[in-house]
Amino acid sequence: MKFKSFFFIIVLLTYNEIYCAEITAVSPINFGTITASFHGDIIQINANFGTAPPFVLLGGKSVVSGGQSGLVVLKPDSPGQMVNIAYPVSIEITNGANKMKIRDFSSNSTQNFVTENTSPVNINIGGVLEIESNQKSGSYSGSGIINIIINNP
């Protein structure tokens, strides 16, 4: 009798698997050093298709140097995992009482995908930085939460 019940549980353990994934924030999104026009400007990082640097939107007079899209690496546990990424609508970066807004993460970053194998996948993060007219000089920083939902096959 004992043998029969043990066998029953062993069968269950063999049948079921739990898929996970490992997610690591590797590098921040960095809009670089911006010599800002007094009239304000829009700086964009379009990381839809991979790592990307910041650039000034057409017509802007500001000058930007350095900077790069953010990077999160996802290490899947199985092929066929559906990865849904929920970016924040916007975040604020601040320097004391001064602030700037970064928006449009979703349209400038890696989109939802399905894992093909268990190799690490780069999630590149871009966005749009709003520089107001007469923006104060300084180093601005902040953070945002990215929710990653994984549906197992």
Binding site: I23, N30, I34, S37, G127, S137, S141, G144, N147, I149
Partner: protein, 173 residues
């Protein structure tokens, strides 16, 4: 205990204790915090006088004369606009503007300026209309030029002497 009872006990154990542990997790979520940074530097604008505005040497006559330097399209020399005076030498003023970003720069000229020798004075008018138009399209990596002119009125009885003065010209982003 019969076989049926033992099986039933195992089934209950599976249903209420073990089953939840081994059901495959269909979806799970994780959050990751991403840092964001940017550094803002102030744009810099400088203006430096290169040449002073010089109406040259004017020989007056018995009537009022006006001497004009029209530098609205670039460097210029004085000419007699009205009256019978004569003028030699002189030239428009020149200011170099440098910037570290491309930008339209607003130039604010004074309505008039006075040059004097002791108690004697002369007035320069129409400075804005005779100088580089505002706004100036200033670009990086070069000396952007502001040429300054105006109209000097010289009365008939003006005391012969060297007249000097200053004016303030402001450039803004």
């Amino acid at each position: 205990m019969n076989l049926k009872k033992i099986f039933f006990q195992n089934f209950l154990c599976f249903l209420f204790i073990l089953l939840p542990l081994f059901i495959p997790l269909q979806a799970f979520s994780a959050s990751v915090t991403l840092d964001a940074t940017a550094t803002i530097e102030a744009a810099a604008l400088t203006a430096t006088q290169q040449n002073s505005l010089n109406f040259g040497t004017i020989i007056i006559s018995d009537q009022e004369s006006t001497i004009r330097i029209n530098a609205s399209a670039g460097a210029a020399t004085p000419s007699v606009e009205s009256g019978t005076a004569s003028v030699s030498g002189g030239g428009s003023g020149l200011i170099y503007v440098t910037t570290n970003i491309d930008s339209n720069v607003t130039i604010v000229y004074p309505a008039s300026a006075t040059i004097a020798n002791a108690a004697n004075q002369l007035t320069i008018n129409n400075i804005s209309a005779n100088s580089t138009p505002s706004p100036l399209n200033a670009v990086t990596g070069t000396n952007n030029e502001i040429h300054v002119g105006g109209i000097l009125t010289v009365p008939a009885s003006q005391t012969a002497a060297t007249y000097t003065g200053t004016m303030s010209i402001t450039v803004n982003y």
